[in-house]
């Protein structure tokens, strides 16, 4: 436990809060790069996922791509891109974008897929155009799952951005690698604790967002759903909780 105190002392040391490569600078780099990567990856993966989920076409391909990319070792992708593109930020950014695509894609298509077919039929019967069906029915109803995909993609990006400090000079991972080189465990542990806090805070924000994006209509149905336990689930709610049913 003494080591943890050393780590905390390292974090609180004023010398680490100013100058080049200070804690605020590294946190800023980590967040900015993660945000850039998330935006690029979302622009690529979300429209494709929505299209696949809406039409149901190309689902096998989407599953294969997202499954296959998941098996790709992150460190391998980072080092390979670093050798191809040289030291700098473009290599880690490209590698991070590729690694963030699977959860985004999976969240988007499984979210749209989870919407009850009868709801979509009803929307069409009311005279909605294809775009309106997607924008006003499918997307709002699937939002919690889509945001869930963005949430796991963000966690993946923050984790891999830490590792990316191995090939580029940015982010909180620098503290871990610098400490590793100089055998300074306090710095390594302090850096690790900052990474963990950052990840947990960001994850907490997404957990909150995930609750907020549940459409009011679905939320209104939720309380009765728990009580009446219908045999079928509604869109984007998950299955009713079975607890208390056993005896």
């Amino acid at each position: 436990m003494n080591l943890f105190l050393d780590g905390i002392a390292w974090i609180l040391d004023p010398a680490n809060w100013t100058g080049v490569g200070s804690i605020p600078e590294r946190i800023g780099q980590h967040l900015v790069i993660s945000a850039i990567v998330l935006v690029i990856a979302s622009l690529i993966a979300l429209p494709v996922g929505v299209l696949v989920g809406h039409t149901g076409r190309g689902k096998d391909l989407a599953v294969m791509v997202s499954g296959g990319l998941r098996a790709l070792p992150t460190l391998g992708a980072l080092t390979l891109f670093a050798l191809w593109l040289g030291i700098g930020l473009s290599a880690p950014i490209i590698a991070l974008v590729i690694l963030a695509i699977p959860p985004l894609l999976a969240g988007a298509y499984s979210g749209l897929e989870s919407v009850d077919r009868r709801t979509i039929d009803a929307a069409r019967a009311m005279g909605m155009r294809e775009g309106q069906v997607v924008g006003r029915v499918e997307l709002p109803l699937s939002m919690p799952i889509v945001v869930g995909g963005i949430r796991s993609a963000t966690l993946q990006i923050i984790a891999t951005a830490t590792l990316a400090a191995y090939v580029a000079d940015f982010g909180l991972g620098r503290f871990i690698f610098a400490g590793l080189k100089t055998r300074d465990y306090a710095e390594m542990l302090g850096g690790s604790m900052l990474v963990i806090i950052l990840a947990l805070v960001v994850d907490g924000c997404f957990a909150l967002t995930q609750r907020l994006v549940v459409p009011a209509g679905v939320r209104a149905a939720r309380s009765t759903e728990l009580r009446s336990r219908p045999s079928r689930t509604r869109a984007a709610l998950g299955r009713p909780i079975n607890e208390g049913n056993q005896s």
Partner: protein, 227 residues
């Protein structure tokens, strides 16, 4: 290709080391997750607590966890055991949720019938709930296999040898074929373990192969008719 041919022994050796790190973590996380997942499924309070804990654990970046564990466990940073513990924790974080969902998906009617025909709580778990939850557990385990085999490589940056040192060494010495070999070998290993897992699943649950895929079925595992 030249690099690969002259280093075939090294790659084979590293694959074995890689297996020795990932297989214990995968098995341990399965053995721990099934009872914990059942507990999470059984009571509402335990579900909230356990699943939140797993969510937090899963959010922690791997490299940070590798560094943060040794002060808690008293192990050395370069100890393979440290890596196995960290990977087991990640496996548990993923599998507990899957296990809780799998047990939730067992039809209440089936559970009540089992109780009605005289199953004890333990007997019902082994004879009814676990076999019915089996296919979902296997699908969760396959996710854990792929992610664990991939995560083992991260240990290379803190000095735990695995196929990951092909990445660090290839990067430092600028040998692209070495990194590509590492990527291909890691994916191949993940696919091989995945295949073994599916095979074991089929052998242990022969009813999943026959007939249509059940999602929320009432059909209990087929048994030999016995008097």
């Amino acid at each position: 290709m030249n690099w690969l041919w002259s280093n075939l022994d090294l790659v084979g050796e590293l694959m074995l080391v890689h297996l020795a790190l990932s297989v214990p973590a995968i098995i341990l996380s399965f053995v721990i997750s099934v009872p914990v997942g059942w507990l999470a499924h059984r009571y509402r309070w335990s579900r909230g607590v356990l699943l939140s804990l797993c969510g937090l654990l899963y959010a922690i970046p791997s490299l940070a966890l590798f560094v943060a564990l040794p002060p808690i466990t008293g192990l050395s940073l370069r100890s393979p055991l440290n890596l196995v513990i960290a990977l087991t924790l990640y496996g548990v974080a993923v599998l507990v949720r899957t296990a809780a969902d799998a047990f939730d998906a067992v039809e209440p009617d089936v559970r009540q019938s089992a109780t009605a025909v005289g199953y004890s709580v333990a007997g019902r778990f082994w004879g009814v709930e676990l076999p019915l939850a089996g296919p979902v557990l296997v699908s969760g385990l396959r996710v854990v296999i792929v992610s664990t085999v991939s995560l083992v490589t991260v240990g290379a940056v803190i000095g735990v040898p695995s196929l990951g040192i092909l990445f660090t060494d290839g990067f430092q010495r600028n040998i692209q074929p070495e990194i590509v070999t590492g990527i291909v070998a890691t994916i191949a290993l993940a696919l091989a373990l995945d295949w073994v897992c599916v095979l074991i699943g089929r052998l242990m649950m022969p009813w999943t192969r026959a007939g249509a895929v059940r999602r929320s079925s009432f059909s209990a595992p087929r048994r030999e008719a016995q008097a």
